[in-house]
Symmetry: C2
DNA sequence: CGGAGTTTTGACCACAGTCAAGCTTAGTGG
DNA sequence: CCACTAAGCTTGACTGTGGTCAAAACTCCG
């Protein structure tokens, strides 16, 4: 069955010509260009799953790969669609969600630069992917996962490691949703964004939130109002600053960690 | 850091001698012995990740594999332990959970016959695994995931498919925890158990619950009392029968599905 | 049978949801 | 350049679902 409670187009993404690759490779300068392979379609460097691969392997990937550009609020694919491709984000932010017939929404993940998503079983995507900001993505055919086992088992192994990592974050998120209070959820969410920024080579603290409060709420199982109240309270308690809705300064990350892990009693 | 808020031993599992394999292979008769490989350490048949593999591949797996028996309530491994092995369940039931310092617990998954678990990144398990009933398990060294990319990429691909499947169930569970009501959660949980029983070749309806209400509660983010109330109400509404606490008869699975998916208004 | 542990039921309560109003910010056009 | 609008964020008052605490009933053992 095709699941699509809210109709709307799926954006195909604008294909970048070869001459545009150069600008892509220099568009993001906040991390050093590492010893990346000769694919040339992205500037992910060590963040890429194909970093440090042999020339032959990477160029065979480059042959099946294509680089796409999306606008903000584009739907990349929809729950129930034929799952023909996996994506690696080069720039921008994506949210992935499931809908219930009455409109309730659960955002199951946010993806940023370097992240890989779109794995699916038996042709149908289990969720919808929508861009939050303008996006540049590397698209790889789903069949690659199968052929890699023959041609480049090492790449397949790397992809598997990413999946194991994703499974671990799901365990954490399930704990958050099942057992944490509103305050703990917001603290955990902000810290996880901070951690991921670090892993991308960005600073941990002036945190940019590309998503709105509604998206945060639908990710951590709360309402917009509760998210807002929790953040205001964290600010009042001196744990963070909110210069603008989309910017968070972590003032006392250790204390925030304590709250996220439930070490600090709610009253404090 | 070693995370172990409640001390207690980790059971090593009793190693089965070769002479005991025969009894293992005939102990469970509820699904036909399929065209399983020559490993001989289990009777999983088509449920096994190594079903229909070449003799050479399977016998190389058999060389590194070992079959273990655990009692009920044994801890197989603990969050923070060195992740040296993955497990395939041959018989029995296992729960996998994370703890918070104050004792809050989130059960992130239940595993049954044929299921595979214990994947981990960077040596440390992200959760604790504890048996619910007596268990028979096939233990495989974690390093296998790496060597398989060289020796048997096809097996690695199958394991990856299992991971993708597990990712999909996490998406569903995150939706359940983030956006469903108590009634919907219980209905969803029972149906998911039923689905999995079917996939194992068991009947969908007289459903055996090896876990207690407390475990169910800690899995679907509720309290024991709320789980109990929700089940009682589903029974009162004629959707299921509860001949005993550990047995559930799904009387109207379609209607139950409607509740699980939020199609039926709460009042009804 | 008896007794421990689990499940169910009941009464009350609190955290987060709902509804509604104000506030801030960014974008638009006069 | 500034009114005007619209969207998103914040704050407030009230409500309801599910949590807490307590006790009764059931199940499953020995």
């Amino acid at each position: 069955m095709a699941i699509s409670y809210r109709a709307g187009p799926v954006a195909v993404g604008r294909r970048l010509g070869p001459e545009e690759f150069v600008s892509v490779r220099t568009a993001h300068t906040h991390d050093p260009l590492g010893d990346w392979g000769p694919c040339g379609a992205c500037d992910l460097g060590p963040l890429s799953f194909c970093a440090n691969m042999g020339r032959g392997t990477v160029s065979s990937l480059a042959r099946v790969q294509c680089t796409l550009r999306y606008d903000a609020q584009d739907t990349m694919f929809r729950e129930g669609d034929d799952g023909t491709a996996v994506y690696v984000l080069i720039a921008g932010a994506v949210k992935v969600y499931k809908l219930m017939p009455d409109g309730r929404r659960q955002i199951t993940g946010f993806f940023f630069r370097g992240d890989m998503f779109g794995f699916c079983l038996e042709t149908a995507y289990a969720y919808t992917a929508e861009t939050i900001s303008p996006v540049l993505a590397c698209r790889l055919p789903m069949t690659l996962l199968r052929t890699l086992s023959q041609t480049a088992p090492e790449v397949q192994h790397r992809i598997m490691l990413r999946m194991i990592g994703k499974l671990a974050t799901f365990h954490d998120h399930v704990l958050l949703l099942g057992r944490k209070t509103a305050r703990e959820r917001v603290a955990s969410f902000l810290l996880s964004l901070s951690d991921r920024a670090c892993r991308r080579g960005e600073p941990p603290s002036p945190l940019v939130l590309p998503m709105g409060r509604a998206d945060i709420a639908d990710h951590i199982g709360l309402t917009v109002e509760t998210v807002s109240r929790a953040m205001t309270r964290l600010k009042r308690d001196g744990l963070l600053d909110l210069p603008s809705p989309g910017l968070v300064v972590l003032r006392r990350p250790k204390a925030l960690r304590g709250i996220a892990d439930g070490l600090t009693p709610e009253a404090a």
